[in-house]
Symmetry: C2
Subunit: 193 residues, 2 copies
């Protein structure tokens, strides 16, 4: 697999924004089971090995997992305040839970668990997200194992199909649309902003 055309641009953007931890926060839109859009902040966890797939993590008990199980498509909107660039990346979403049949992905899930902080891991031992607020003692579980993920820990992958890049710097702004054909080859064209 060759790295997609847009990867070098995004790598440069991430590098120029590296001083801001918030530049790894982005917004993921999905479609709810009732057909309405949903939108929430997620944290970029890097690319999956040598693929173009973006990694995130989530709790299998969260609303978005239910949505993705019904309709596995998402669009992220990633705005970088320092360089004033916006990446809109749309594609298929893949959930990698404890029972995933692909062994390589299962080991990526385990590595993702090992790479997050203990504070992040402990949240997966908290009561069900989005349920009525539990008593405070429920938020003081014993720290989970640092090697083997809890069963509700999910790796979430986005396999990009289009990347719509807007550079707000410049007058007029630049806008590029990257797209992938059936064979996985990427092309790019310039659009009006």
């Amino acid at each position: 697999m060759t790295l997609a055309l847009w990867r070098s641009h995004l790598a440069g953007t991430l590098h120029r924004n590296r001083s801001l931890p918030v530049s790894r926060y982005l917004q993921l839109a999905t479609v709810r089971t009732d057909g309405r859009p949903a939108n929430r902040t997620v944290v970029f966890r890097g690319f999956l090995d040598d693929t173009n797939q973006l990694k995130f993590i989530t709790d299998i008990r969260s609303q978005k997992v239910e949505e993705i199980n019904v309709y596995p498509w998402g669009e992220i909107c990633w705005y970088f305040p320092k360089t004033r660039e916006q990446f809109r990346i749309a594609g298929q979403l893949v959930l990698v839970g404890a029972e995933h049949p692909d062994l390589a992905l299962c080991s990526s899930r385990r590595r993702a668990w090992q790479e997050i902080s203990e504070a992040a891991r402990v949240q997966f031992a908290w009561p069900r997200p989005g349920a009525n607020r539990a008593v405070s003692s429920a938020f003081e579980p014993v720290a989970p194992d640092a090697i083997e993920p809890l069963s509700n820990f999910c790796l979430l992958l986005l396999e990009p199909e289009t990347v719509d890049l807007l550079e707000l710097r410049g007058e007029p702004q630049n806008r590029l649309l990257y797209g992938r054909d059936g064979e996985g080859n990427w092309s790019v064209r310039e659009l009006n902003p």
Copy 2:
């Protein structure tokens, strides 16, 4: 109309983040005509008079207008890095174009046009957004009138129905869900983060 419960919280958040112009940027998710989610950054332009409706502006030629005409529902995700708060606000979207039958909304549209900068107004005289890139001279139109909006200028309103507020500060984090009943009364309950 009374101000919704969540308004005072959002007002406080906006005040505490007022030093960052980027705190008026947020991400709006809609559903595309093919059923897939769409997500892009928009700029908050304040509330409509004494209502709870959030104001944005857009170009009638943009993709999102086509989407909203088919399915007028949106969810914004608004993350404030300084105070580490996230507001997810879902509700009906209302487009106010040149031909809108409500005269009060037409005059709000005109005021919105007058309140934006000349640089923002001139963008509405640029070639069609999202089309293949036009020659550079097409991006140097005469400055449009500062009083009467161009016909493709749209006011976009979001009428909130639910507000899901997550405060990342605190251990565990706080999460509140505000909802509106059929009579327009707001209630709130505490959820697990």
